[in-house]
């Protein structure tokens, strides 16, 4: 008994250190240091390259507030994030439900593979293949005109819907996976209990299954919303002129304009806004989960 207590009291951070160290060392080197450098850059007037003159300034952050363009773009990016997340729920949740509760054995594995496939394909390849599908005279246009008796023009390329389609395709696996995990953990007897108490399948869905799968929905939404708000690849390639979002502006600062300090400042404003949104939503989300 005394021995057991002694062992119990020794349990603490110390024995866990060798396990934690590699991950935190890696995080420090690979993420924290570059990010710190970026924080540093965001307060500079210019990059300290090629002996250029530079000094500290708040101007990069002030730029966000002085030009309405940035906040407008940030707002449309937040809306994009929200819409893509919603579509991912609409598309991903039923798929996760079927995977977790309807399919068994090999058919489940096969469908699962199809869901995960976008994960394993290169992002650019994925987006350009959508371009082939969505453009005028593309696969979708040709296929629909081959079937339909009248002539229609489907040219979704370089439009807002194209951006949504591309982003939903890229991010829906997150929603399927997180929802699948929570749905699978729901015991089938809970569904049967609900029905034995007189609840229709729909009532069981709304009152039992969806509340119990909230943690998965929330985790999926967080995994999707945050990167989509900062996304630039899909908006640029599939959105064309309409695809100007907060993420593409940041990208421009880094690869086109070479105004790294402004790009860094805009990134940290995005990070702050996202953190504020998550913090505001936390009490609601915690109650739901």
């Amino acid at each position: 008994m005394a021995d057991q207590l002694a062992i119990g009291s020794r349990r603490g951070l110390k024995p866990a250190l060798p396990l934690l160290l590699p991950a935190y060392l890696w995080l420090t080197v690979a993420i924290f240091l570059p990010l710190s450098a970026m924080v540093f850059f965001s307060f500079m007037t210019d990059l300290p390259l090629a002996g250029k003159e530079w000094s500290f300034t708040l101007g990069n952050y002030a730029a966000f507030f002085s030009q309405s363009l940035y906040s407008t773009l940030l707002f449309s990016s937040l809306r994009l994030g929200l819409e893509v997340t919603l579509w991912c729920v609409v598309v991903g949740y039923p798929a996760a439900y079927v995977l977790a509760k309807v399919l068994k054995g090999r058919s489940r594995e096969a469908i699962f593979l199809l869901v995960i496939l976008p994960f394993w394909s290169n992002g650019l390849v994925r987006i350009f293949s959508w371009a082939m599908v969505l453009r005028e005279g593309g696969i979708l246009d040709t296929a629909l005109n081959a079937v339909l008796p009248f002539k229609i023009n489907i040219d979704l390329m370089y439009s807002y819907p194209a951006v949504i389609i591309g982003l939903v395709h890229s991010y829906v696996p997150y929603m399927v996976l997180t929802c699948y995990l929570t749905l699978q953990a729901i015991d089938d007897s809970l569904i049967e209990a609900g029905r034995s108490l007189g609840a229709s399948r729909r009532q069981v869905l709304w009152r039992v299954i969806i509340p119990l799968s909230m943690p998965g929905l929330i985790a999926g939404a967080a995994l999707i919303f945050v990167p989509v708000v900062g996304s630039f690849m899909e908006p640029r390639i599939l959105g064309g002129r309409t695809g100007t979002f907060y993420g593409t502006i940041i990208e421009d600062q880094f690869v086109a304009v070479f105004n790294w300090p402004l790009g860094a400042a805009l990134s940290f404003i995005l990070l702050a806004v996202v953190l504020i949104i998550l913090a505001l939503a936390a009490p609601v989300l915690r109650r739901a989960a």
């Binding site: 029905r195 034995s196 108490l197 007189g198 119990l212």
Partner: protein, 354 residues
């Protein structure tokens, strides 16, 4: 409340016949145990009555109304699941309220009914707790309250006490029986525990390989089993195999065993006899046999197991091991290796057709 009639119900899963032409009449207000080993079809039968699964053929009626194609949510049944299946995201009160709430009952009615159900299962003050904050026995009570608060026509219990430890299980058996009597609901109870079936139910149905082996009150099945399986599955039994003589059987070694209960088997046909271990008198080899106990065999004690209030003797006789249970009356205990005489009455001997 209503009785349940199951008539000629069959259900197959692929090549496996889970239920094979099963007919049982569950009387209104009765407490009925479906007993059988795992894979015997007892849970399948319960699921047909509940409506989670539909029979391939046959009829199921609740209160005289055919329901074999009615989905579970329309059958007005109450069910308690083996793992309780309480909704983990809801409080105890919300769990119990669920059935009333999906029906759209007014809030005040729901609150009153929930409290009454909580009081009935003696959990009056625990309505605000979450299921994970309850003990196993308390969860069991919540599951029961949830199942009966909607005033179902039948209460179905799927091995509800299986997850409880022994002492709690006995408590819950008494409790369950009390509540069942109090509301007078027709109750069908699936179990593989023969003791539970004996102590709790008015009638027992024994299932094996999807077929109903025997059905009747516990005393009848215990005292007059109609098959070796029923005799050995419900309680312990010594089985003798031989040929019918008209008033008993003759063993291959020529010994006759008289039996005055059970089936009537034409003389010469293969038959067996079942004798309960507690009906056999065991006495030292030198003692005089009791004249009332016509059936007499000699043997040798091979093992004795002392269990406090009784002792079990294993007696070897021509390669067969017989079991005898003797109450601890303070009489002389027999030693292992001692020659003994076993005797019992024909009234305690049940003839079973092979």
């Amino acid at each position: 409340m209503a009785g349940v009639q199951v008539a000629n119900v069959s259900r197959s899963f692929g090549a496996h016949k889970a239920l094979d032409d099963v007919s049982i009449d569950f009387a209104d207000g009765g407490f009925y145990a479906l007993l059988g080993p795992s894979g015997s079809g007892k849970t399948t039968l319960l699921r047909q009555i509940a409506g989670f699964d539909f029979p391939d053929s046959g009829r199921i009626a609740i209160g005289g109304e055919s329901v074999e194609r009615v989905p579970v949510e329309k059958r007005r049944i109450g069910m308690v699941f083996q793992n309780y299946a309480l909704f983990p995201n809801m409080s105890v009160a919300d769990n119990i309220a669920f059935g009333l709430s999906v029906r759209g009952e007014p809030k005040a009615t729901i609150a009153a009914e929930v409290q009454r159900a909580l009081d009935l299962v003696q959990l009056g003050k625990l309505g605000g707790r979450k299921p994970h904050q309850l003990s196993g026995g308390q969860r069991q009570r919540v599951a029961l309250a949830r199942a009966i608060v909607t005033k179902p026509r039948v209460l179905l219990l799927d091995e509800p006490l299986g997850a409880l430890d022994k002492a709690l299980r006995v408590d819950m058996q008494i409790e369950l029986k009390r509540i069942q009597r109090e509301i007078g609901i027709t109750t069908i109870f699936v179990t593989h525990d023969q003791e539970e079936a004996l102590t709790m139910s008015d009638r027992i149905g024994i299932l094996r390989d999807g077929r109903l082996v025997q059905e009747g009150p516990p005393e009848e099945i215990y005292d007059r089993p109609q098959s070796e399986f029923a005799a050995t599955f419900l309680g312990d039994a010594n089985i003798f195999h031989g040929n019918a003589t008209g008033s008993g059987i003759r063993l291959p070694d020529g010994t006759t065993i008289a039996a005055s209960t059970g089936a009537s088997v034409p003389a010469g046909a293969k038959a067996s006899c079942a004798v309960r271990p507690e009906r056999i008198r065991i006495s030292p080899g030198a003692a005089k046999p009791d004249p009332a106990n016509v059936n007499t065999l000699t043997g040798q004690v091979s093992k004795r197991i002392f269990a406090g209030n009784n002792s079990t003797y294993f007696v070897d006789r021509f390669g067969q091991t017989l079991k005898v249970i003797v109450q601890n009356t303070g009489a002389e205990r027999l030693a292992e290796g001692q020659p003994v005489v076993l005797s019992w009455s024909p009234d305690s001997t049940v003839l079973i057709a092979a």
